[in-house]
Symmetry: C2
């Protein structure tokens, strides 16, 4: 019997080449490329890395701000049958070194912004060759550094390696509860199934243009990219998010679709200069990481009339989407019912349910852990079979989110079981920040948790018990963290006290007790 | 590493139970059932057939006109882990007997219309038990015949067997070029991938209601059913197609979506009584089997304003859809370019190309065979590995259609390589009709082919050389066929001659030569 082959993540490129070879593929600064050109460049860069010794299944790291070549890299690395490892642009050298030592890529691709860090990483890690992929010359690069454009120019295109759908396509690092980040392994099928689900939820519009405004290393944007690849959209790219850059890009590139986190939506909507741009082409904003507050939704609707907002709820381990909340649930009767506060309903290829600690499904209204099953569940954590086995049980990915569902199948997230903070769309594991603070000589005890922040959703807060006989300030502790972990993970505020932190009889710090006063006034963080 | 499980065809039911348990699932005559009720009935009927000895992978035949229980059967047989075999309601006893002997089901489910044929089949085939699934009592049934409702009432529900996605879900019989019908084996994944593709092309509308107007045994309607199961639509059902029944059902059930072949669309649009019904709820008609003629498209647009037409091109072996032609390609500039005459562009999970006889891909504009690849390609023909190997080469399903593609990736069907006639949406293999005619004592030679028909697209025509010394009329030959093969396959017209048919040097009848004069005036059948 014949087993039908599934899709590699290059499928969207093949489809675009067939349907729309002369059409616009990417728009970045003054650069426009057609699908025909992208196809040629992808096949050449794939050939180049194969010649450099990358074999099927080998990893290739990418550490870049957004640009059009990032899209090419996602496609070319898959075209070569290799595995992309998009690195977090906010991470410190140490954090990125950890990830690279973990998954051992042969190549690391960097842009101008990360040329210096790239050199540092390639010095620290034996056998890690560097490719520079940007337009301005980078002073920091040692002679002999490989150049992306030179490689493309010097290499003949190869055929698509046509990775099997069960092959590993990418490793996406997430913060880990143990303090070390874990590599989420996603197969071609994982990513393409998510793309099909998302494309189905979006529906079809004429001449879609997707704007990469969120960082392209992040699976939120990459997931949208795969979806828009199969619907045949053009890809507009801005280097970095800013409220002005988004508005300008929408105007210049006639953007129809983008993906932002609520913090970004707020900044776009609150931009006093928004009226300087024609943003009337924009039709849909897909947002994630958290629901939008009433205030942000109202302001965004007022400032961006005609734009439909669509929420997706998920996590990297789910490729990443489990639920969608369509536009109609943000307005009218549905809003009156509070549906805009939910994470939505399971998308068309995923099962979602609420279970208790014994994995028994719970009925409507009861709070338990949100678990999800389907062909978008990750292959596992890279070289961490025990953590994989803990996360994926009988096919169900355990999200670590506490929530409930209503009678109509809407899921509501009420808390996180994992000790995690979401600030500006980034996941921050408290334990990692606590481990850093604990290294300071004046810190006796500490607890890190999220507190409400009008701009970032949550802000990282630390409460510290200082050792007797020592003196330390909040600023000193924040600076101490900034030297060791990514800036976005560092506490924004620190409370320092001489007394012990509140603890349970078993000696566990009662973080929930400590969080409560900060969250009394808000609708989230219900315990 | 963890291999994410795919979906069984019961997925849509689980999703509906979660999202919309109290919502309407089926509407048929005066009967309304909620998803909760359907879930209960499905789990009970699955239990019943398991108790009757149906094991995982066993086949269950269904021979019924449309009704709400047909939807339950698709779901319940999958729920039991068994394989549905929907039989063609237009086939003769002999043809259905052939199919049943081929795939050897243990059970056959029939309705009132097929009670008599069911008894005949169960008499002819040892070990084939009969289940009657209809409301009026059927006089023809022998005592002891099993009753669908009695089985449901007497059995406790079981858990879903959760078929693996690679398990066989259904066998769909198609006419065979060899004159014997072949069982197309479709896996759960085949059907669910097609459902995801289709649901993506349709997009989401509020409160969808799908009308089963085409026969539910046919994969065109069943494919739409699986798609609408994952979008959460309600299912309205009419027993048989008629122009009046469709209009009445749209009015009564507030239908938003249906699937018809162009012949049916024409009948609905030309119905002089259409104005008696309120059909304003109807938003989309998905049609297939062939493009719509200019005249039918114009009349349909005029009589059904506000309805969008969407074509799908495919075949049973592709689960069934390869290409979609959206509404926008039926109007305006696209129509001026003639796009409404194409079969559309590859859907988001399928690759389509044109190849020559050596399977080399052909460039834009060149005519060759249309082949398609993806996870919707069938598992094969039931117990026919050689025919499977001929049809599926390197993953590519060879459609037997000749066509070309344009620079924008639109595929145009220009001819059928297989000697097949499509009349009123049904595939008729000429060889089967020729084999029947050849058994008549007066027939020396015959050729059967399609000729243009304003109502059915094509009509079956036979040209016969009579044996010298015999006399025979067209009516006699048509009656002869009607006694032996399904009515829709029988010639509508017969030309009788004393001379040899035109033949090639190798002695092959030049059917193309014979077809040509009939097709001179039309745009199809270009050679």
């Amino acid at each position: 019997m014949f087993a039908a082959p599934g899709m590699s993540t290059t499928y969207g490129l093949h489809r675009a080449l067939l349907l729309n070879g002369a059409g616009t593929a990417t728009m970045f600064l003054d650069q426009r490329r057609s699908w025909g050109e992208i196809g040629e460049r992808v096949a050449r860069f794939a050939a180049a890395i194969l010649e450099l010794g990358v074999a099927r299944g080998d990893r290739v790291g990418v550490l870049m701000l957004n640009q059009d070549r990032y899209l090419e890299l996602y496609l070319a690395i898959a075209w070569a049958g290799a595995v992309i490892v998009p690195l977090n642009i906010r991470w410190s050298v140490i954090e990125n070194e950890d990830a690279l030592r973990d998954c051992r890529p042969k190549l690391l691709v960097v842009d101008l912004a990360f040329a210096e860090m790239g050199v540092e990483l390639s010095n620290r890690i034996d056998g890690l060759a560097l490719i520079y992929a940007d337009d301005p010359p980078a002073a920091a690069l040692p002679p002999g550094t490989l150049n992306y454009e030179a490689l493309i120019a010097a290499t003949e295109p190869v055929e698509d390696a046509r990775a099997a759908e069960t092959d590993l396509a990418g490793i996406f690092y997430t913060g880990g509860t143990t303090g070390r980040s874990k590599g989420v392994m996603l197969s071609h099928r994982n990513l393409m199934s998510n793309a099909r689900n998302a494309a189905g939820e979006w529906g079809r519009i004429d001449n879609p243009v997707y704007l990469h405004a969120a960082p392209m290393f992040h699976l939120a944007d990459a997931g949208a990219m795969y979806g828009h690849l199969i619907t045949g959209a053009a890809h507009a790219v801005i280097r970095n998010f800013s409220a002005d850059a988004v508005a300008e890009a929408i105007d210049m590139f006639k953007v129809t679709d983008t993906l932002l986190v609520p913090t970004m939506i707020q900044m776009v909507a609150d931009n006093p200069g928004l009226e300087r741009y024609d943003v009337s082409s924009l039709r849909r904003i897909n947002y994630g990481a958290s629901p939008m507050s009433e205030a942000v939704l109202d302001r965004a609707m007022a400032r961006l009339p005609g734009v439909e907002f669509l929420q997706s709820y998920g996590m990297t381990e789910l490729s990443p989407i489990a639920c969608f909340l369509p536009w109609k649930d943000h307005i009218g009767e549905a809003r009156a019912k509070g549906r805009h506060r939910s994470g939505g309903r399971p998308t068309t290829g995923v099962e979602v349910r609420i279970v208790d600690t014994l994995d028994t499904p719970l009925p409507v209204g009861e709070i338990g852990e949100i678990v999800a099953r389907g062909d978008t569940v990750m292959m596992g954590y890279w070289e961490r079979p025990e953590e994989t086995a803990k996360a994926v049980i009988d096919g169900w990915m355990h999200t670590g989110d506490a929530g409930y569902r209503d009678a109509d199948g809407y899921f509501y997230v009420v808390d996180r079981l994992k000790d995690m903070i979401i600030s500006g769309g980034e996941n921050i594991y408290s334990v990692e920040v606590e481990r850093c603070l604990a290294q300071h000589p004046a810190v006796a005890q500490c607890a890190v948790f999220g507190i409400p922040d009008p701009r970032w959703g949550e802000a990282v807060h630390a409460t510290v018990m200082k050792k007797s006989g020592t003196e330390v300030t909040a600023d000193e502790l924040i600076t101490f963290c900034k030297d060791r972990i990514a800036g976005y993970k560092c506490p924004r505020s620190v409370t320092i006290q001489a007394e012990l932190l509140p603890m349970s009889g078993a000696g566990k710090i009662l973080k929930r007790e400590m969080r409560k006063p900060y969250w009394m006034e808000t609708s989230r963080g219900v315990n």
